[in-house]
């Protein structure tokens, strides 16, 4: 089945946070109230009961101009090659047939490996259930022919959901348009990053101006752990058992041959 993608066009976002509320509503998540931190952003980061947030990023690049505000809807990117899926020891993360990265919470043990393997550190621990949660791309809604709750709610059509190829075309047109209309650094995010993300962004400036890693990478310790330590190193243990078993047999055979060890040991 063709990929279905969520597209977020930052140039159309007015930071009303309706998506944030719709997400809470649909997923029946309790409010998480964080203290006021001196800016308009409600939550510092995603959390166990908050799958999506709108970031308010302030820039003062041009001292003559006012403070520049960049908004960013932030949630799981639904990577084509999800690091979270690789590390899960319970294998409870999977990609469905249209590209959503999903979790089977019945098997989750709350170890939080996925949280730290994710290049964006998106999945978060939900203490009351001892599980780690994240955005589901509203797969239940999509399977019923609806769009995700955030997309459905967005009053400016900054969020759109549908066939990835069509949305990619649309995104490319938007970027072309923005580049000649005052945003020379406009770019698409999610086309090539990490081998592709099933969440596309149309950005009006380079990704770092939106708190996004320019060239996101899975932190090096994670592939080292998964590709070297886990599959190979463990074989030392059966080797030690085999060595001991060999010695157990040979010592007893040789003892018969050379006669019993003298009192108290050798000779």
């Amino acid at each position: 089945m063709a990929r279905k993608t969520n597209l977020y066009d930052v140039s159309k976002c007015i930071a009303c946070r309706a998506c944030q509320v719709a997400c809470k509503d649909w997923n029946q998540l309790p409010a998480v109230i964080e203290p006021f931190k001196g800016n308009y952003q409600t939550h510092k980061d995603t959390n166990g009961d908050t799958y999506t947030i709108v970031k308010f990023i302030e820039h003062e690049d041009d001292p003559a101009a006012d403070v520049q505000w960049n908004f960013l809807k932030y949630q799981c990117m639904h990577c084509f090659e999800p690091a979270c899926m690789d590390v899960c020891p319970r294998k409870c993360i999977y990609i469905n047939d249209w590209g959503a990265v999903l979790k089977d919470y019945d098997n989750c043990i709350g170890c939080q490996y996925c949280s730290y393997a994710c290049p964006f550190h998106i999945p978060k621990y939900r203490k009351r259930q001892d599980i780690v949660t994240k955005c589901t791309l509203c797969y239940e809604r999509v399977e019923e022919g609806l769009t995700p709750a955030c997309v459905r709610t967005c009053p400016t059509d900054a969020l759109q959901f549908g066939d990835r190829d069509e949305l990619m075309q649309y995104a490319e047109e938007r970027v072309k348009f923005l580049r000649v209309n005052g945003f020379p650094n406009a770019t698409i995010y999610g086309k090539f990053e990490l081998g592709g993300l099933n969440m596309l962004y149309v950005l009006t400036d380079s990704p770092d101006k939106f708190d996004l890693p320019v060239d996101p990478k899975v932190p090096g310790q994670i592939p080292f752990w998964q590709n070297w330590v886990q599959p190979y190193l463990g074989w030392l243990i059966p080797l030690a058992l085999l060595g001991s078993a060999t010695s157990f047999v040979t010592t007893r055979i040789l003892a018969n041959k050379h006669g019993e060890h003298g009192e108290g040991g050798h000779e």
Partner: protein, 229 residues
């Protein structure tokens, strides 16, 4: 067939490990093995049967944490109640010398049961010195990385990511050593007598003279006797 060498109280015996050392040793042995089996369910694939023994994966996680805390407490107990013992242990390890190097090089033959003549050993022989350095180091890394993995939110994310491979590497090396060590400290005909040193506290005097002559001489020999008087 003989498993552990017979315990002989008709032969003169000398003390090798005091009660604190023995309680600590068996305490951390049991908790280490519990941690190992409950950890392996995540490290290896297809371990559902092992997880079932602990009441599923959530149960295994709980047992891992309880055993981990007890393991930590046993280490603390050792440090608090036999600090002098630890110091003299470390001092003995620092006496690593030529006799230990020769011991370790010849050891594979002894391990298989071939008759070899070993140079005289101090309280801990070359192999035991190696074990005493490597295994506790791995256990310390297991404890440190383990608590970081348990409470990742209070540590920097970079440290948590380092803790994952650290926990596994330390687990593998410690378990490798423990497999050999557990065997040598029990079923190996030559060194099996040391099992009683760890279980009842004493070993046969003739075994001590033969396997650890330097230690025997210093602790129970004529000179030591003279010093005591």
């Amino acid at each position: 067939m003989q498993w552990v060498p017979e315990y002989r109280d008709d032969i003169n015996r000398v003390e090798r490990f005091n009660a604190v050392a023995r309680i600590t040793h068996w305490g951390h042995t049991v908790t280490f093995i519990l941690c190992l089996f409950t950890g392996l369910v995540l490290f290896c694939d297809g371990m559902d049967w092992l997880a079932t023994i602990f009441g599923g994966y959530a149960g295994a996680g709980l047992v891992h944490r309880i055993a981990a805390v007890l393991l930590t407490l046993f280490i603390a107990f050792f440090v608090l109640f036999d600090f002098k013992g630890i110091i003299s242990w470390v001092k003995d390890l620092l006496r690593f010398g030529m006799n230990d190097i020769i011991f370790v090089m010849k050891f594979p033959l002894d391990f298989l049961g071939l008759p070899v003549k070993m140079p005289p050993q101090t309280r801990f022989n070359g192999g035991e010195k190696g074990n005493s350095m490597l295994t506790p180091t791995c256990v310390i890394f297991l404890v440190l990385s383990g608590y970081i993995m348990w409470f990742p939110a209070i540590f920097p994310a970079g440290l948590v990511r380092v803790a994952y491979p650290t926990h596994d590497i330390a687990m593998v090396f410690a378990t490798f050593m423990v497999c050999m060590h557990g065997y040598l400290g029990s079923f190996h005909p030559g060194s099996g007598e040391s099992f009683w040193g760890m279980w009842k506290g004493t070993v046969r005097e003739d075994w001590a003279k033969h396997h650890h002559p330097i230690w025997y001489e210093e602790a129970y020999g004529e000179k030591a006797d003279a010093e005591k008087e």
